[in-house]
């Protein structure tokens, strides 16, 4: 479980929160001109980075306010919390912070995998 710092209430247990997915998405104003594929992308597709990810959280059991958070998805470490409408603050994170050292776009992609000393192609650790 996470301990999440609501910008209004302070540190609270994750059970009080609802995750709202990726933050800072802007609805296109020219939806009527967009192709079905582009519109479908906007509606259904989300970034899924390994590393710093800006996401929305809703303090549903507490003050019932939405806010943004920066989270390192590889380590589940929260790096910053900031109110809705604000730009994400600059943070520093060690990437990728997993023991196997996979590439930021995810594990299983051997073409871009970062090799550790002594590790050979095709072996999994």
């Amino acid at each position: 479980m996470f301990v999440i710092t609501c910008p209004y209430c302070g540190e609270r247990d994750q059970a009080e929160f609802v995750s709202g997915g990726q933050a800072h998405r802007t609805r296109p104003l020219n939806a009527h001109e967009m192709s079905d594929a582009d519109w479908g992308d906007w509606v259904f597709m989300r970034d899924n980075p390994k590393g710093i990810f800006a996401e929305r959280w809703f303090h549903s059991a507490g003050c019932r306010r939405w806010f943004n958070a920066l989270r390192n998805t590889a380590t589940d470490q929260f790096l910053a919390f900031y109110p809705m409408g604000e730009a994400p603050p600059a943070v520093e994170a060690v990437l990728p912070a997993t023991p196997a050292g996979e590439a930021p776009i995810g594990s299983g992609n051997d073409a871009v995998k970062v090799m550790r000393p002594g590790e050979s192609e095709g072996t999994t650790t």
């Binding site: 209004y8 209430c9 019932r64």
Partner: protein, 208 residues
């Protein structure tokens, strides 16, 4: 406005106690209003009508003469007042705040107030919520919206001016009041509280 037919969701329950360790009782018909509005805009009206301008800090309450203002969100407060005074207060607030961007709703019958007292009251609550209810962390006057059992509610430690004699007040939606009542009794069994059977007949065991 008092009507003999008016019944609280917990009308079939009476106070349960395990001596000085913990006592659970309902504060029936305690008046509750939701007031939305920028704290700076509503403070003068609050001071005039409740005797307090509202809490200065987040997650706190301010009480005066039995009327309390609870911080719920950055632009949301609850007013907790003696039974049957809330309708008049809502009307007064509305007229006093005319021209100010605000919103007053009477939620007296939407939330049920269950009071806990006793030396072990916080230990009973601690079994049901992830929030830290130890008296050192959750001081008198503090307010916290949190998860209680399977429901969401607001925890409050009323200060002296609130004229409420419980150490902790739990506000829970009326449909979950009976559930929480029985859950509190179950949580208090360690301290000698007698179990209560839920209206629906369901049974549960708290993880021990």
């Amino acid at each position: 406005m008092s009507d003999a037919r008016r019944r609280s969701p917990l009308h079939g329950r009476s106070e349960i106690s395990s001596g000085e360790a913990a006592t659970v009782r309902e504060h029936a018909f305690l008046g509750k209003l939701v007031l939305r509005g920028a704290p700076g805009d509503i403070a003068p009206a609050l001071r005039e009508l409740t005797g307090t301008a509202g809490p200065e800090d987040a997650c706190r309450s301010a009480s005066s003469n039995g009327r309390s203002v609870l911080w719920i969100g950055p632009d949301e407060h609850w007013l907790v007042v003696p039974a049957e005074t809330e309708i008049e207060l809502a009307r007064d607030l509305d007229s006093r705040l005319a021209g100010v961007r605000h919103h007053v709703v009477d939620v007296t019958d939407y939330h049920v107030a269950i009071g806990l007292s006793g030396t072990k009251a916080w230990e009973v609550l601690a079994k049901l919520t992830p929030f830290d209810v130890h008296p050192k962390a959750f001081a008198v006057g503090a307010v916290a919206g949190t998860v209680i059992g399977r429901g969401q509610g607001v925890l409050w430690r009323p200060a002296e001016g609130s004229a409420l004699d419980s150490d902790y007040i739990v506000f829970i939606r009326s449909s979950m009041a009976d559930y929480l009542w029985c859950l509190l009794a179950e949580a208090g069994r360690q301290f000698g509280m007698t179990p209560e059977t839920p209206i629906g007949g369901e049974t549960w065991r708290l993880a021990r």
